[in-house]
């Protein structure tokens, strides 16, 4: 695998006594598209700002290509940032915005105009050189911000929720475009978002964060299919999460019944979290399954129906299915052993 371009070592950030980051250890490989994913306040933006150099960590180190850059000011770092609300310079036109970094480096005028037009082509904004940035739409401003960062040929591009202000359709288009740019340019993208779908679509690696700690690092498939704990499972897509007891290897008890499962290595009678994806539950006639319940609500979601089925213990199961059972029907809930995911209880989240 390719070399590590950035390493974060025991990164701690303290804001007036509240710990935003509680010791982050992470390496980022060259040319990968890595996403920091988590709810607001989880520390993802703080981590990005530390890499950009806009803030100093309370303790810990940031290594860039083997060199400690923890105390290096942002204008000396070989990274560039696309900010959440673009942060374009309103008194400059599109050309001048993109040329800003090149002018500082005293690049030759001809080279500047060549590079700027190449960038405008990359972000599909040819012919926009003379336009004022205020006259552009949100999506176009976003593209200018990306071009302004990329024209400096950074080794790493940092993106702080860059698509947050765009409407859904535009956001989906830009997701694919960003991915295309990253592959075309072959540089490392570090992306911050709270949108799990966005993270799953674009990333090579996802880092799920919560409360200033890393919950899980893995490929999108890993994170979705093998969430490490209940938090990750809940954050990445909807999940049914209930308390269970591991009776022995391959046997778990939850919702008042015993089930076969594929997990082992837990203690005898250890308390665990049981996670089941809503699309992994099948509704069958009530006599065909030991786990039974009553349909309480049905919502049409387009591709599937979302139903809530309350069992006898009062737990409301979320079930996704392309076929629908009317409300107040008694049904059985069938779950295959490989769809039952057992997780260690996370203490004190």
């Amino acid at each position: 695998m390719s070399k590590h371009i950035i390493e974060l070592v025991d990164l701690v950030k303290d804001y007036d006594g509240t710990e935003a980051l509680k010791g982050i250890n992470l390496y980022i490989r060259q040319n990968e598209f890595i996403t920091f994913l988590g709810p607001s306040g989880c520390g993802k933006t703080t981590t990005l700002r530390l890499i950009g150099g806009f803030e100093k960590p309370t303790s810990g180190k940031i290594i860039f290509e083997g060199v400690d850059i923890t105390d290096m000011p942002p204008y000396k770092r070989k990274v560039n940032t696309v900010f959440q609300k673009y942060a374009l310079f309103p008194h400059m036109n599109v050309f001048e915005n993109i040329a800003f970094g090149l002018r500082i480096k005293k690049t030759d005028k001809k080279v500047i105009s060549e590079k700027v037009s190449r960038m405008l082509k990359l972000v599909n904004l040819e012919g926009f050189e003379k336009r004022s940035v205020d006259s552009l739409s949100g999506g176009q401003q976003q593209r200018v911000a990306i071009a302004r960062a990329l024209v400096n040929e950074p080794e790493v591009l940092l993106l702080d929720e860059p698509l947050g202000a765009l409407d859904l359709k535009l956001r989906k288009e830009m997701q694919l475009e960003l991915k295309r740019m990253q592959q075309q340019l072959g540089i490392t993208f570090i992306y911050v978002t709270h949108d799990q779908e966005e993270a799953l679509t674009m990333s090579d690696t996802i880092v799920v964060m919560q409360n200033g700690t890393i919950q899980q690092i893995g490929t999108p498939e890993d994170i979705y299919n093998e969430p490490k704990n209940a938090f990750v499972a809940d954050f990445i897509g909807e999940s049914n999460i209930i308390d269970g007891v591991m009776l022995r290897d391959y046997r778990v008890r939850f919702a008042g019944h015993e089930f076969d499962c594929v997990d082992k290595g837990f203690g005898i009678n250890e308390d665990v979290d049981v996670v089941i994806r809503p699309e992994d539950i099948r509704l069958v006639p009530r006599d065909e399954s030991p786990l039974q319940g009553t349909v309480k609500s049905v919502i049409f979601k387009g591709v599937h129906y979302e139903m809530q089925v309350d069992d006898h213990n009062g737990y409301g199961w979320i079930v996704h299915s392309t076929s629908m059972e009317p409300e107040n029907t008694d049904v059985g809930l069938q779950i295959s052993p490989q769809d039952i995911q057992i997780m260690k209880k996370v203490s004190a989240i």
């Binding site: 950009g52 806009f54 940032t81 959440q84 673009y86 970094g101 400096n152």
Partner: protein, 264 residues
């Protein structure tokens, strides 16, 4: 009926407010020395004004003090505004209250306290103390006109400039200053106007030989009525009015731009 009454009331108010100034302006063109009688139109008081060495010297001091104090207060006030803008909440509101204090405290208090301070630190009252006093009362107005512009800035703009390789000073002059320039210019004009306008603080903080126009008018008026005073006051009134109109026009244009930026 109601409408007519409203109009009448409005005229009455304006008459009440502006009658004195109007009388002053009219009588500055009066050929007679008397304040009661109209003796025909003349410009002789204006030409006498520009031959009076005392008046010319105070005009020179007034303009020099206004220009210098406005310039220095603009630089200091803009720097202060940036500092205040980046403060933490509690400290910020504390410093903002301190900033408002000179604005709301009576001129006579400011004037006397500055005089006492200058005497205490053994500064000879004169040009320097006058300039220092004007800078002091001008700074809060610059801060108050620059701060709203800073609030409108995208808070990541400065970071974006650093990110693209700009050193802090370059980022300030190339990115931040152009954005807050309207507020800085308004602050400068306001400071210049207030400095021209000031009498009380100048009166207490200047020494012999250095007087501003308003002090000269005051001392002329004490010696006896001279229609030159009318001419001089008229000129000052018109200059200050013109400057204030410019400041107001700029501020309203700024706030319009402000909302336009917010709407994006």
């Amino acid at each position: 009926m109601k409408k007519a009454f409203g109009r009448f009331y409005l005229v009455l108010i304006f008459a009440f407010l502006y009658a004195p100034v109007l009388t002053l302006i009219v009588f500055s063109f009066n050929d007679s020395r008397s304040r009661g009688n109209w003796g025909g139109f003349t410009l002789k008081w204006y030409s006498a004004l520009f031959r009076d060495r005392h008046v010319l010297s105070s005009l020179y001091y007034t303009l020099t003090i206004a220009l210098l104090s406005a310039l220095i207060a603009t630089v200091a006030g803009t720097a202060a505004a940036i500092g205040i803008h980046n403060m933490k909440k509690i400290l910020k509101s504390f410093v903002m209250n301190l900033t408002y204090l000179p604005v709301i405290s009576p001129d006579i208090v400011t004037g006397i306290s500055l005089m006492i301070l200058f005497v205490f630190v053994r500064l000879n009252l004169g040009f320097t103390t006058l300039l220092l006093a004007h800078i002091t009362f001008n700074i809060p107005y610059v801060i108050l006109s620059v701060l709203p512009k800073l609030k409108q800035l995208n808070k990541h703009m400065y970071e974006a400039a650093l990110d693209l390789g700009a050193k802090p000073l370059y980022a300030f002059f190339r990115v931040i200053l152009p954005e807050i320039m309207p507020g800085v210019v308004t602050g400068f004009l306001l400071a210049f106007t207030l400095s021209l306008d000031d009498f009380i603080i100048s009166f207490f903080t200047t020494g012999s030989g250095v007087s501003t126009l308003s002090i000269t008018i005051y001392s002329m008026a004490r010696l006896g009525i001279n229609p030159k005073i009318n001419a001089l006051s008229t000129l000052m009134f018109i200059v200050v009015l013109a400057l204030l109109l410019i400041v107001n026009k700029r501020s309203s244009a700024n706030s319009k731009n402000g909302t336009a930026v917010m709407n994006i």
